[in-house]
């Protein structure tokens, strides 16, 4: 029996199994610490296409096909896909999904989109509305720079709090068919705005949202941080991580031992000059599919709270001097024994 917990959370009656996870990443990501984990590394920034935006679509397409392949199903078996990216009007997803010929819900949750997609796909499967559902997101360094910042060849100095948008795409297929990992609950995040306007310090903009979602989750489920092997945020980076620790301490929680951040895992700042860490919809998606999921399946981690974080802003809102609100979506993923 599915159960509503507190005001923002759901506990699934039956686990929603993650049948497969696939990741396609760019060259710089491939050279990072997680390089050996990715299913595919695309060395060409244009991925054989003409524009950055088409390249991002191509990466997303390949991730989707790989996830289908790993799950042993065809595109026609999917009842629906929940997909999103960072481009205006989510075009990277649109052009990919047009080729896949599957019913679609397009999502925008900035860099938290993978959490949003996994939450909705889990609900669809748990509610018996889909036998197979896919969660899929992508981002591309060059298309994001063009969308939100400067042309690539323009010379400027990035602040140390800035993050590096991950080039890559991650996909997961969810179903009630058994596998080694399953979504057992979710906490839907609220938009939290502490009034910060610095889009080059997104970690600080998103940390209050991450804190809010994590606290709410623990209260809704009546759990303590120790009951999780890992609590993994999306792309807070080194600056956001520090702030999250401080904010949680004020709420009486200490997650320093469990905490990891996808943005800090994917790049090595000392060698790759990425400053605070990686970011983008693709960041949490590829790290989840390539690094987190296999560790849950193997049983190394028993229960993980996956909390992708997003900074909700646009080029226009930034230009008009608006604040940068944050959001974080939490998904509980647990190790499952495949045999009864």
């Amino acid at each position: 029996m599915n159960e509503r917990m507190g005001h923002q959370s759901i506990r699934f009656g039956e686990p929603v199994y993650i049948r497969s996870g696939a990741s396609v990443a760019g060259k710089k990501e491939g050279e990072g610490p997680l390089g050996p984990c990715f299913d595919e590394i695309e060395k060409d920034p244009l991925a054989g296409e003409k524009t950055w935006e088409q390249a991002e679509s191509a990466l997303q397409h390949r991730a989707a096909l790989r996830a289908l392949d790993k799950a042993g199903i065809r595109n026609t078996d999917l009842r629906m896909i929940f997909a999103g990216d960072l481009l205006a009007q989510c075009t990277a997803s649109c052009y990919n999904l047009a080729q896949l010929d599957v019913p679609v819900y397009g999502l925008f949750g900035a860099c938290s989109t993978m959490g949003e997609a996994l939450s909705l796909a889990s609900m669809a499967v748990a509610g018996d509305f889909a036998e197979y559902a896919m969660a899929l997101t992508s981002s591309h360094f060059a298309s994001a720079e063009k969308e939100f910042r400067f042309p690539l060849a323009y010379g400027s100095q990035r602040p140390l709090s800035a993050t590096w948008t991950v080039t890559g795409s991650g996909a997961c297929v969810l179903s009630k068919e058994k596998s080694g990992a399953a979504v057992t609950g979710i906490t839907t995040g609220k938009i939290v705005d502490y009034g910060l306007k610095d889009s080059m310090n997104m970690g600080a903009c998103m940390a209050p949202a991450a804190c809010d979602t994590i606290c709410t989750h623990l209260q809704d489920f009546g759990r303590q941080p120790e009951e999780y092997s890992k609590i993994i945020t999306g792309d807070l980076g080194s600056v956001g991580q520090q702030i999250l620790f401080d904010l949680l301490e004020k709420q009486g929680y200490d997650i320093k031992r469990q905490h990891l951040d996808c943005g800090m895992l994917i790049f090595d700042d000392a060698v790759q000059d990425t400053h605070a860490g990686g970011s983008g919809c693709g960041c949490s998606a590829v790290v989840f599919a390539s690094y987190i999921l296999p560790r849950i399946i193997s049983g190394e981690w028993k229960r993980v709270l996956f909390v992708p974080t997003g900074a909700l802003m646009s080029k226009v809102s930034f230009a008009e001097g608006q604040t940068v609100p944050g959001i974080a979506q939490a998904v509980v993923v647990e190790h499952m024994e495949e045999k009864d």
């Binding site: 042309p151 060849a153 100095q157 600080a204 702030i243 401080d246």
Partner: protein
């Protein structure tokens, strides 16, 4: 309520400023001095060489600007200028080379959006304000100069 929110926002901003690392200002200034200085030395060298080859002062100045702009655009196209700017900061921004880079970079990026709506509309997205307010401020100064002359 609104006031309390503002206080909270200011407090958070102050806290964030405290925990966010920043570039070292003296190091940045030293690098800007070095790189900007080297660009100016190169400019002076071109100027002197042109004059030694028989050009008058004005013509030599033209050659100097022309060659510096050419080099900047070339290095932008080869993706070397951003690396230089990352190191040199304002040292690469202030000389004429920085201006050339800010025009060449959008031209490369938006070429895919077409000759008119891509390059045509967006080539001055970064340099535009400099051009507009440069013209406006020289117009204002000209006006002041004109009034002062009448007054004398």
């Amino acid at each position: 309520m609104e006031n309390q929110k503002n206080v909270q926002a200011r407090e958070y901003e102050r806290y964030v400023k405290k925990v966010t690392p920043t570039h070292s200002l003296p190091v940045n200034m030293a690098r800007a001095f070095l790189v900007g200085g080297l660009i100016c030395v190169l400019g002076q060298y071109i100027l002197n060489t042109a004059q030694a080859m028989g050009a008058d002062k004005e013509e030599a100045g033209c050659w100097c600007s022309l060659i510096l702009i050419f080099l900047s655009v070339l290095l932008t196209g080869l993706n070397i200028y951003p690396k230089l700017a990352k190191f040199g900061g304002a040292g690469t921004l202030v000389p004429i080379t920085g201006f050339a880079n800010s025009v060449a970079a959008p031209a490369i990026e938006y070429q895919k959006e077409g000759q008119v709506f891509g390059i045509g509309c967006k080539i001055f997205t970064i340099a535009g304000p400099v051009i507009l307010y440069g013209v406006v401020s020289s117009w204002a100064l000209g006006l002041i100069y004109c009034v002062m002359r009448l007054w004398r």
